[in-house]
Symmetry: C2
Subunit: 284 residues, 2 copies
């Protein structure tokens, strides 16, 4: 066996694709598809296919395409499997982080610069991406029905009239959506979880699973709020905080699957964290 | 949930990368790393990383690079993880099949045309690929020590003196190596296993696992012969033939891991079969 070789020969786009794979492989991530868990209509293999399908859009991001173009391309490729939405939220975080890494500044400030430079065209592409896959989302704010993401490209005129960049759209959603909050907050949770993955030991997929539990205790998961309401999402946090070892996590995984609880937004953030950890040199 | 979308938007290189992922995800594949099994120093995450690392070489194959250049690039990228050799044999089968698919003739005859057109330079690249990763191989034939693959690029002058193409090298190895035999035999087992994957039902990773067991009953696994000898390899065939359901396969997986039996060549062939099945339209 040769001495372990670092994976540092990979560029940011390949690291992002690998992060999608390591994220879904990390087990147990209670309530989510992972290496040892499928959901009834959403299987591990759909995520493998989604990751490979995302690669072209991630490559565009590395090569300097706009956030909107890269994201829409990635989502379109990701959707080329029968499971539905597998990694929309992951890609929303990965695309700006790949761009930041490609310019040599993968940091909260570097991420902030990328997202603050997004344009109205990026916002239009983002809305169009919702036409490629069925994404679970909450209702828009009271005064913003014209900006409901479910309108897809029909929202274009409203976006142009109000001169909203993709960053502006995220600011409007930040209160209700943890991924949007990463955009407006220098990807704070992603960078913090990346540090814990880097500090941790053992197989990376095990570190991913531990980081997931930690993140789950911090904030209500946006997808759980969307599907089950705030109270259930708070209960999920409490139950995650009671996990003290792998057996507890496995038991919680069984419970969440039985209850139909799927903390998907927390998985998105751990995916972004895994990408950052790979870029910062975590060894596989 | 939208209607299932086929994965047909992927080109051959992406399908090959996906085949690497689906192959290692298929479980149980007794004695091999899979979605539910790690070996002591070789983990699932090493295979995920190897698959992503292979992508650049597979893309070269799709774009018309020589077999040797594409293969060596793929192996170099595959080796960028600490587990050692993960998918050398898979890539030896995938690269010519990707080239055949890219020219629109993914068939035994199309595969044969690609391998028969290989050159002495391809042979040199193939030998050089052994310098990128530690591959378990048997001894060369009595009269061919100059052509021992473990000599890496030191074998170049012998290859050029004897004017051996990569196809010629495979002909010399075909008797002892099931992957070389695929090269000289129109990828017969790969195409047959692909047909069984296409005819089968359920998640593709389950079909991969069933095809693996079937292949294992057919012939002694080359890697098992290399590591444990012909008699053990024959015993592996007998034990695989006694598997009648998933529980049997799980039990055999535990036994093989305990005995250090790793039928890796059979996994290579099921990977090639998975690629063919993806190209022929298996849905995910």
């Amino acid at each position: 066996m040769p001495a372990p070789v670092s994976n540092r020969g990979f560029g940011p786009a390949r690291h992002a694709e690998l992060a999608l794979l390591l994220e879904v492989a990390g087990t147990p991530k209670p309530g989510n598809v992972d290496r040892r868990h499928d959901l009834s209509d959403l299987h591990f293999e759909h995520f493998l296919t989604g990751a490979v399908g995302s690669a072209e859009g991630l490559r565009l991001a590395e090569e300097g395409a706009s956030v909107g173009e890269a994201f829409e391309t990635a989502v379109e490729g990701m959707g080329k499997q029968g499971g539905g939405n597998t990694q929309f939220g992951c890609l929303l975080l990965l695309v700006p982080l790949v761009k930041a890494a490609a310019t040599g500044d993968l940091s909260p400030g570097g991420g902030r610069t990328v997202v603050e430079q997004t344009t109205i065209d990026d916002a239009v592409s983002f809305y169009r991406a919702f036409e490629h896959v069925d994404v679970a989302v909450g209702d828009p704010p009271e005064d913003a029905h014209e900006l409901d993401v479910r309108r897809g490209s029909n929202a274009e005129s409203a976006l142009r009239e109000r001169e909203l960049t993709l960053y502006d759209v995220m600011v409007l959603s930040a209160e209700r959506d943890a991924n949007a909050r990463e955009w407006t907050d220098g990807f704070a949770r992603s960078f913090r979880a990346a540090a814990s993955i880097l500090d941790d030991e053992g197989p990376v997929t095990d570190r991913v699973a531990r980081a997931f539990i930690d993140l789950l205790t911090e904030e209500p998961d946006t997808l759980v709020v969307t599907n089950h309401g705030e109270e259930v999402a708070r209960d999920v946090m409490t139950r995650a905080a009671e996990v003290s070892d792998r057996d507890d996590a496995e038991a919680l995984a069984d419970e969440f699957v039985a209850e139909g609880i799927n903390p998907g937004t927390t998985a998105d953030i751990v995916c972004a964290a895994t990408f950052i950890a790979l870029e910062k040199g975590v060894r596989l």
